[in-house]
Symmetry: C2
């Protein structure tokens, strides 16, 4: 691994604003991972996946009024969480505040005001056409949380996202090849370093505004080679221009040593994706019986991880 990459990452973290509730997050993650480790009584470890979802923000001012945001509804991450849980995985769901939550993807925007109505005497009731969907969503979401197989970690900024991802990686690595990273979040490529960020709101004045943004260090490299080197790593490449998509996915796989890169094009991403591995490209498409492309995608990746675990030799925990 490139020493420059490591130094860039160290500089990034050293200059990032302190993560609020860091100790509580570390403790929650460690407790969640410990419960999945094999015990003396012979319990086998379950597999665990860290799913990242939604887009990160990049503040342009310290007292943040303006920021650059990356659009992502979080539907892919939420749907994939459901699929992995169904397959028996425990899930650490690192998600942007306000984006889609597992089991709740089909609710309308602002479900409280849309799905309930006054019923007199300050009481409220579910509007009949929404009742089944709302009851199912709340029930399934809480069951997943209460099962102890889902850990929900929200973020907003790029800084929070990367700090949390690092915390999770350094804990999950204990599961060796039984853990997977499924990095579906839309992460900013550019940012304003905290040190050089203006304290106050940028003044509008006259004429156009020029802005210079620094590149975010390539954290995939660190995750793959330093933080959790045995984990099965899946990253996502979203492009709006299909002509460059596959080439960029292949380049990302080689550069960062990903086990799989999921290439998706903005307009067709809900029907099909192309998975690039060291064996080539595979088109993964949902069939008529499947509600989401994440169903065949997660199946495919789980099979890939199983091969990876089996190739890993005797000291690896197999479910």
């Amino acid at each position: 691994m490139d020493a420059v990459e490591v130094r860039n990452a160290e500089t990034f973290f050293a200059s990032a604003p302190p993560l609020r509730d860091r100790d509580a997050i570390v403790a929650k993650v460690e407790e969640f991972v410990q419960r999945r480790l094999p015990t003396a009584s012979g319990n086998r470890a379950s597999r665990m996946v860290c799913i990242t979802s939604g887009g990160t923000t990049v503040p342009l001012e310290r007292k943040c009024v303006r920021f650059i945001d990356n659009f992502s509804s979080g539907h892919r991450g939420a749907a994939s969480t459901e699929c992995f849980m169904k397959a028996g995985y425990s899930v650490i769901f690192i998600n942007r505040r306000g984006t889609a939550q597992p089991f709740c993807r089909f609710l309308p925007e602002d479900p409280l005001l849309t799905c309930f109505e006054p019923a007199g005497d300050n009481l409220i009731q579910l509007i009949p056409s929404h009742a089944v969907a709302v009851q199912k969503a709340v029930t399934e979401y809480h069951s997943a949380l209460n099962s102890g197989h889902l850990l929900n970690l929200p973020y907003t900024t790029l800084f929070e996202y990367l700090e949390i991802l690092k915390i999770v990686s350094l804990s999950l690595r204990q599961l060796q090849r039984n853990c997977m990273f499924y990095l579906a979040a839309a992460v900013s490529d550019f940012y304003v370093p905290w040190q050089s960020m203006v304290e106050h709101k940028i003044q509008s004045g006259v004429g156009p505004m020029a802005m210079e943004l620094a590149q975010v260090p390539k954290m995939l490299m660190l995750l793959r080679h330093l933080w959790a080197p045995e984990a099965f790593c899946v990253s996502f490449k979203l492009e709006t221009d299909v002509k460059i998509l596959i080439k960029k996915a292949q380049a990302a796989r080689e550069k960062y040593g990903m086990h799989a890169v999921v290439a998706n094009e903005l307009e067709t991403r809900k029907q099909k994706v192309i998975v690039v591995t060291n064996e080539g490209q595979v088109l993964v498409e949902k069939d008529a019986s499947q509600a989401d492309v994440e169903i065949p995608l997660v199946d495919f990746l789980i099979a890939q991880q199983t091969s990876y675990i089996e190739a890993g030799g005797a000291n690896v925990l197999v479910v």
Copy 2:
């Protein structure tokens, strides 16, 4: 009024992406305003206020992955909507999707998942500690909508915001001095003109990224002098640096001919504001009995508008 400003605004609108549902929005606004106009049977017009709330986004790419956002929770706009309705005004609430809604400001984030729990058999129930707040919010919100005195118009981008504001202005002007604009939204100062916007996702490549943003035409000028020249106009100035705040508020009042500019500093804006009018500055502060600074602020502005209506002469409709 400066011919350059008018031309800049025309260029902006001509090059903006078409507003989705434009015809439906025009019809809704016109119907809402018509119901408040005096009829032959002698009904007097009620006063009406257009409140803008939340922050606008500026897309950086046409197939929008990245955008610049302006932070605003929308609490001021939502609280002010409640105050104006209590005072008998009808309210057109132009608000950023997902930001605070009137009567719902004190609910937790994601209230459906936070305030409800499974009750077995796929049924759900309100968690007792949240029950009163949720029932009150849903009841009051729907009552306000059903009363016919609240029109809710959501936006996301700067383009949508300005198109909707223009539509509302050109309709509200019929109410002459009986209408108010209360422009609390955090509107982008800079944008990427649609014509010069790249079609596809900006490529990260190597090295830092330079971005040049154009100034948004000063629409306050058009609103005040062309779209609704008799309306009582209130704009807001938010700064994080208190040293320049008042000077900027005074400059905005003079430049755009606002009837009042509300100057607020990021850290103290929930306790006090300074209102700049042509008569000077007035400190408006909430007292111990008041839940929100919007209560005395809206009182103050309504009194100012009443004077403005009374000064307007006989052809003006007085409530």
